[in-house]
Subunit: 321 residues, 2 copies
Amino acid sequence: MKLATLPNGTPDGQLYVVSRDHTRCARANDADTMQLLMEAWDELAPRVDRQYQALNAGGGVPFDPAQCLAPLPRAWQWLDGSAYESHGKLMDKVFGISAGGDKTRPLMYQGLSDRFLPPHADVPLPSEEDGIDFEGEFGIVCDAVPMGTDAQAASRHIRLLVQVNDWSLRKIAPIEMKTGFGWVQAKPACSMAPVAVTPDELGAAWRDHRVDLPLHVTWNGKPFGAAGGYDMGFGFHELVAHAARTRDLVAGTIIGSGTVSNENYREVGSSCIAERRGIEMLDDGEPRTGFMAFGDNVRMQCALPDGTPIFGAIDQKVIKA
Amino acid sequence: MKLATLPNGTPDGQLYVVSRDHTRCARANDADTMQLLMEAWDELAPRVDRQYQALNAGGGVPFDPAQCLAPLPRAWQWLDGSAYESHGKLMDKVFGISAGGDKTRPLMYQGLSDRFLPPHADVPLPSEEDGIDFEGEFGIVCDAVPMGTDAQAASRHIRLLVQVNDWSLRKIAPIEMKTGFGWVQAKPACSMAPVAVTPDELGAAWRDHRVDLPLHVTWNGKPFGAAGGYDMGFGFHELVAHAARTRDLVAGTIIGSGTVSNENYREVGSSCIAERRGIEMLDDGEPRTGFMAFGDNVRMQCALPDGTPIFGAIDQKVIKA
């Protein structure tokens, strides 16, 4: 099942089903918003899925991802992991902040969730001096998860997969990180690709609770990275269980993978500028690549090996707020 | 103006105005929920205030704080500061994590906001082994704040004051803090006292954007602390401006002060067990006070010098989840 949210003048927008090939869509008959669907998944999802199957056979209206809001335009909770060890190790080495010392516990912070920016919207940020960076990630959306749910049981609560750009301000990040309190100023609102999908849409590429597909990132039209999503040190089911250790997770909680990264980042590239700068610091003694300038574009997308689109593209420009 | 939320079967409950002496209340005619009031404060608050003034003259129904939900039963954003330097310095010294090094920047993290527990509800937590602790705090609720708002302008967005118990799991806190990512497992849902008030209800005790009143904390009926709220290193207007540096703040954002604490904590006591344990470590070389056990009660309240109640009491028991 593939879902998107189109604007209707309300903060939560209108839920649509989207055809597998992303060419057509239809207003969801059985759930007005993604949040309502997440709150009553067992009851509503089978009905929405029937509409999705019918849409794949024909009908609907043309789907325009440029009109979409984020699939969940706002969420009660966004917990972002940092599950790619190659990224964590490099950041630790370069910035001297050892976040990744304990391999028995996933890294995770709670971030801004009152809005997720539309996939094609301009992104207003206050200053280029803050070190504007993108972070290409995958994420999951779960229904309500009771406190204490273990990883195996948590896997059944992973209802949808999403693709996220976790905008980051790199000059502020280490200052906030050193306090131990996590990020507030360094993590403004994230963006989300237009289409959320059930895990079965990935077929064999949904493997061990990970997205086993490359995330293609371009910066101002130039290829920047195509790291594969599989190399997470913890699967999404383990991230859900970690989050639910001392709290009930509200329906519609979104959990992120952290910047997609592979050990061979010199070959496949990176999903954020900070990682490329880290490689340059290792190889050349100093970073050569600057951060984003106002007017810069970033595009992120992911497809099945046969070319079938999955989440659609994040394709946006940073502008002065 | 004084406001509370009573249950009506929906997650956001029904907004009520509460008489100044907390004896009577009336269903708010002009805003069904606190969230709606925060989203249209300029339009709705004058009307709700007229109803509040009329209620003070008479009428309404008996007010029972034990029936209340949190004034905002859920919020899109909860940003908790740690603005009391005496607390920060002690924690730094005892636990060796130097969060408070930079006095030019407030400390702040983003926490769980999809639910705030009712003031008299039992608090289900998974294990006594996690080091269950309370944290008595003051907080503010703001309407929408544009990105880049400075402290002076931010003061006009402080619409309501609240009193919060920021439940904390102390065995997990330093583990998460050392990662730099802030707290997820160590910070389960907070509780909120039943009544939210406009700053004018404090009279002269709303001073320099701080609550200049003692927060009385008892643990199992025994006095534990009565620290005054004034000693914040940053006022709430500065906390709002800090939060809004790189993001628009959504209406209904709640910002906390951090554990209320004074330099003379040996005389006035503390608002959390961790601080008392820190004092014991300094004075006696080891902590003597344990954390909370299931069945333990904590009560927190604050009144004007003439005895007028402000927020009502948080009065609750921790239980096994």
